[in-house]
Symmetry: D2
Subunit: 350 residues, 4 copies
């Protein structure tokens, strides 16, 4: 019997997350894109703003009307700015749609924490409670059969996948966590501002939002849940003169004598059967280009016996595993499909 295709709509199709969803979903065997949606550009062919899609998806952008979407789609990806999803997603759910939300609006369970970091009103608490946090390799089993998934942030994905096995094993001291994160510029979105101007970014390396990034409470919420006690982290974000890629370099004090071999074994067991996490061999650390264009998260370790600290290095493609790829992984889990369906891309190298 031929699999009937799942009908999918993408809100925010003119952002980098949305356009990457299109790229990946075009290659997904069980999915059909039935609407690409943009509040700002409705009526315009999507290939006008994105000529790389010429002949691949010849479709005009639709407006954001929940009823219209429900008429043509089963599932919606909302790749919308924070604040927009807060209002839109409940309408989509009410219209009977399944939703994978890529904004940060439904990740924090405590609305007051959301408001403290995001600086605008949180969604109603009932919706915060309903959203399942879709960090696939950790909470994937909770995603199956659900209809409302909150897709993790890009920095949290790299950071949490790098820390959780050691933290949940009790090998590292949660009071000593320092996270030095670096991202390519696509993470800032397609909006124009001086901070994304080529001449300001090229040949430049800069820190931003030091100790102030809105992904901090998301990381702390999950680490606290995993360790069973409140965790507070020191977290710095930097902008790298490249388009794609995140590296999270993480530091912690060891709570025992563990070697790199121990860590490698622990992580390989933790992620056994999870295709998209790859643990590097001893003495080798991953680079962002080694996962570029793919859904992989690669992790390596260094133990410094002199200080009894461990350094974790975790890399992802922020647009794929940090956004569109993990969102599709969540779709697969929601639908009870193999989690890697449509995502088995080899990284693009060089």
């Amino acid at each position: 019997m031929v699999q009937e295709k799942l009908r999918v709509a993408i809100v925010g199709s003119t952002g980098y997350g949305g356009v990457e969803l299109i790229r990946l979903l075009q290659a997904h065997p069980h999915v059909e894109i039935t609407s690409v949606i943009s509040s700002s550009s409705a009526g315009v062919p999507i290939s006008e703003g994105f000529p790389h899609l010429t002949h691949i998806i010849e479709r005009n952008l639709d407006g954001v009307e929940p009823a219209d979407i429900a008429a043509v789609a089963d599932v919606v990806f909302t790749a919308t700015p924070s604040g927009v999803s807060a209002k839109l997603v409940p309408q989509l759910l009410a219209a009977g749609l399944k939703v994978v939300d890529l904004s940060g609006d439904f990740r924090l369970k405590d609305g007051s924490v959301y408001e403290a970091w995001y600086k605008h009103p949180a969604p109603d608490s009932e919706w915060l409670a309903k959203a399942v946090y879709g960090l696939s390799e950790v909470f994937g089993s909770e995603v199956t059969g659900q209809s409302f998934i909150s897709n993790p942030g890009c920095y949290p994905t790299a950071t949490l996948l790098g820390l959780i096995p050691a933290l949940s094993a009790g090998w590292i001291d949660p009071k000593t966590l320092i996270i030095d994160a670096k991202s390519g510029v696509s993470g800032a979105g397609r909006g124009t501002s001086l901070t994304t101007h080529y001449a300001e970014i090229n040949e430049n390396f800069k820190a931003y939002k030091v100790n102030k990034h809105q992904h901090i409470p998301e990381i702390e919420q999950v680490l606290s849940q995993v360790s069973g006690a409140p965790v507070t982290v020191t977290f710095t974000t930097h902008l790298v003169p490249m388009t794609r890629g995140i590296m999270s370099t993480m530091y912690a004090s060891l709570l025992g004598t563990y070697t790199e071999d121990d860590l490698i074994e622990l992580y390989r067991q933790y992620y056994e059967g999870r295709r998209f996490v790859r643990i590097r061999d001893k003495g080798v650390w991953p680079a962002t280009k080694e996962v570029s264009g793919s859904n992989y998260c690669d992790i390596g370790f260094s133990v410094d016996a002199r200080t009894n600290r461990v350094t974790f290095i975790s890399v992802i493609d922020n647009v794929v595993k940090g956004a569109a790829g993990q969102a599709i992984q969540n779709l697969n889990l929601m639908m009870g499909w193999e989690e890697s369906l449509g995502l088995t891309f080899t990284p693009v190298y060089p």
Copy 2:
């Protein structure tokens, strides 16, 4: 009935062309890679030098032994330096293998021209005669059923696809052809030298091999064939501080009064049914990123009524359409498969 997989080997698997063949063939539905071959690194896991292939292709590199290859493969891609293929390919053919050669060794029909530009001995003329030049959209019908294909060069692919429809229609004066070509650095291969050193290339734009590039006779041979008379071109190559992509900006005097609309119609008709050539609308020109990671060749036009000249702009991803992608397109044509099989990637953007 299940399609039995074609067994494929790749010689030169540690170069950028070879590693891209692996990426693309991994996703090809009718193909199985049975040997990855490197004369210099035999015995080493390929993922050691290319960690992005970890878990994707866990295989040691094999040495270059035609008999061994023939024992495990039906078809060989030779992504080897010029000079190496000249000797190796006849042995592979003699061993009963089909060959798609990505080097420049079998593109020029006249061995003396080869020797003048490549500065080393040409293959025997019988092999030069047997090789079918696989510029898919132009000579694809000659490829079907063949067992020995010479894959076009990267600059010639972009340039020829951009010029042939107008030249064969007699719209442009073949004595006025000027080609100003630009390439990303991956075109120089993975070998190390000062000319590929990051600090020498980054924030730099340079010309090289001006009027001396070995792709000149390849372009002239095909244009002469198409126009029915000897064609000589002025051809400049430049290095762009980016990894992938070629743009060929081409100039010619018009032999009549043709508008951009005329050219667009001519080209759309010429390439009708050929999925991988996309003709841009009037007033819009393609950029290299719009084909990055894909097998597309995108073409745009500008007619200057003041000088009665036309400017053609043609872009490809040099590693895909300019090498590995077109080689697989040729494989598809050789085997009588749909030419786009396994190649329907959406460009990676941004």
Copy 3:
């Protein structure tokens, strides 16, 4: 006797041209910056938007008031958008100031041509007549003692310095001129738009304004003047993923049998004593990085005996020789100083 410092003001100090004027004038021995001016940011310390100037120039931005400027300055550089200078410069001149204008508003002698290409009203023809076109190495002698200089555009500077000696010698056919030009992104200015967004530019090479760039009439005006007859050129502009640098690759048919040695000698004689033009040796072509951060224009040649065409390659730093550096060179000439005063920077390499 101590040289009394010339008092200088810079209008447009928050653009890339303005901020480069500050960098260069800080090191000029005979000049004192007395006002940095920005219509949009008056009252703000300039180091707020440009932290690299911290402690170097601690001064608030002033507003644009001709009388106020005349009270503190002898000379004004107007690094303002086209259209703004058209109105402002006459007021500055009327206030008794000397002016070096870096906009395109006073370069074209024919106002109707200006309006056809710039798409807004031209300045009054009396001002167009008064402006001296400051292409230093060609028209420098006309600049001495003048009080109103129109500084050449970036593309015209690279192109004209590359073509004029051969054209004025009658060695090349003016009907065959094709100019393929490439620029770094700083040429687009500091304004934000999708066309300067890092993720759209990085790893991308694109053509723009093909046959439509407003520098075309400027180039044609000067070439016509030099050759004594109307010259029309084919001119393409491309954007290179780098910050600084312009290369102009130019093609022409030779009107005789001239070798590369002939051209080298011709150009070395033409530019004898002009420090900022360097002619490369035979078989070597300049790269943009070799002039980065400096006021040099480097030129190389290739003659193709097969087509009897010559290829000229000319490079500049668009922000220095193409803007701020040549403006200061013009100041030096206006004042009767040595033209290289304050400009003898070694290029920054790598």
Copy 4:
């Protein structure tokens, strides 16, 4: 009276450190370059390998002969690989020359530590004892009048200037120091290898030598000296896809309640009168481009009250303040000149 020029020779003139010494010394008012030296390229014009120096320094490279050098120079800069200086510098000193050594060979006072990290024999201990460690803003007073200076490493310069004021004030816990450092590719030198290949570096961010970099003992030696007790640090180095620039992001636990204002005041007092260290205002952090091409070290702070940790961010241009610029600063101090002589370049921006 006219200042007689100091005669200076540069060993290692074909490396990035050497060629930057040439750029900077060309602009130094009291210095004359009398010999540019390269063991590998003696006899060749330096402008052949570095065309940007055409007409600026027209001189053939000399060989490495201490007696010949002593005949023409008063001071030598040795920008040589580690291991080479160990042998050469004693001969130069014995020949009566003053030496500023840019290699790492004379920075560590304990030869056994040197051998453990550098993996080859240390210089004789008498020379290690004689070398004065020239971190200008901290140990500048010890440099005056000396004849043998060991110039600090690039990572140590950024890191030590960022940490010393807080550490020497007793504000931070030396047991908690974590240093996450990032460098542009020029730091790897001009040698060719896969690790500097453009296509491997571009669009890539990678960690290297994690906890193994040879600058670790240099940093620890100075921090231990400053704090009066042994200090051990966790230190990670990363490669950024850019040519110039280092950022050191440093973490420490505060030993009291200090605000960002406190830190700013402490640092401004510590570095009062030292032109090349600039302390950023509250809430603003420096970026590498803001010091590019200049001798500045810019420093900013973030205090996280939640964890009572401070984050220090320090940036330099690795080729200037991290090598050639600081070497000239040391020359100035040795000679009793103003430390900024010839170094008052405005950073090149953008």
